[in-house]
């Protein structure tokens, strides 16, 4: 979304227009949900947190600055809600691995198309990503998947740009190593989920 369109959208959101909310919702909902699903590794948690993110936008819409970048703002709220959720549940990264069975990829029935090479690569990347510690995972998700610049992503994470760049660089190296490991061991560490 170009800055002018976004500024117009923010102005209409500040005025409480439902059409503006719908436009923002259509633009960002799936991306926010995917970000939260990959961060939390749980569809249910992602569902709840993404709804709470939108409710926060509604509650704060009147106080948005006219130059607010909606994407980074929403992702920052979603991220903070995720960390609050982890704190409230006293979930750390180690215990989060027990939720891995809830990883969205595991819930889908394999289709013939999923047997193709591209799906196989996607599955491997999802697996490797899910095994990274949360701060590194979110750095890759923000920049590599959602297309934020490192400066925007640093603002989302509440970090200085240089600190974020270091984290991102380390995250890329870690993911690269994980992918090499999963390539060497194609079965991976995640078992098939049967529900």
């Amino acid at each position: 979304m170009d800055p002018e369109t976004e500024a117009g959208l923010v102005a209409r959101l500040r005025a409480g227009e439902q059409d503006a909310f719908d436009a923002a919702y259509d633009e960002h909902h799936a991306r926010l949900f995917t970000f939260l699903a990959r961060l939390s590794r749980s569809r249910d948690v992602a569902d709840d947190l993404v709804e709470e993110t939108w409710l926060r936008l509604i509650a704060h819409a009147g106080r948005l600055r006219p130059d607010t970048r909606l994407g980074p703002w929403l992702f920052a709220v979603a991220r903070n809600l995720f960390y609050s959720y982890c704190r409230s549940r006293a979930i750390d990264d180690a215990s989060m691995t027990s939720l891995i069975g809830l990883w969205p990829m595991g819930l889908r029935q394999p289709s013939p198309f999923e047997q193709t090479a591209s799906r196989e690569l996607e599955r491997r990347v999802e697996q490797a990503l899910s095994q990274l510690p949360t701060p590194y995972r979110e750095a890759l998700l923000l920049v590599g998947v959602n297309g934020f610049t490192p400066t925007e992503a640093a603002a989302v994470c509440g970090l200085r740009a240089e600190a974020f760049r270091q984290r991102l660089s380390r995250a890329r190296t870690m993911l690269d190593r994980k992918l090499e490991t999963t390539a060497a061991n194609p079965a991976g560490q995640l078992g098939e989920v049967t529900t």
């Binding site: 439902q18 909310f21 993404v50 690269d176």
Partner: protein, 87 residues
């Protein structure tokens, strides 16, 4: 450094294969409905708050008007009394 940059581009290209997860149409519609309800509630709250500020303005204006009229009246009474004493 060049090698690092090349590797980073490779990882970013790898991440680009990831597709968006489908939040599910039912849940998307439910969330939208709840948000619309919240929007209406927020609009009503803002309207009430706006009405409250007008009352606040009236609360400020009324005493100021009454006070200034009282001062004018007192000034008039005093000036009339002084005129009486002079004669």
């Amino acid at each position: 450094m060049m090698l690092d940059e090349h590797a980073h581009h490779g990882i970013d290209a790898t991440l680009a294969v990831l597709s968006e997860h489908d939040p599910g149409p039912v849940r998307v519609a439910q969330t939208r409905t709840r948000c619309h309800a919240a929007l209406r509630k927020e609009a009503a709250r803002t309207q009430r708050a706006g009405g409250g500020s007008r009352q606040g303005w009236t609360r400020v204006l009324e005493p100021a008007l009454v006070g200034s009229l009282s001062i004018i009246y007192l000034f008039e009474v005093l000036s009339r009394a002084l005129q009486l004493y002079r004669f």
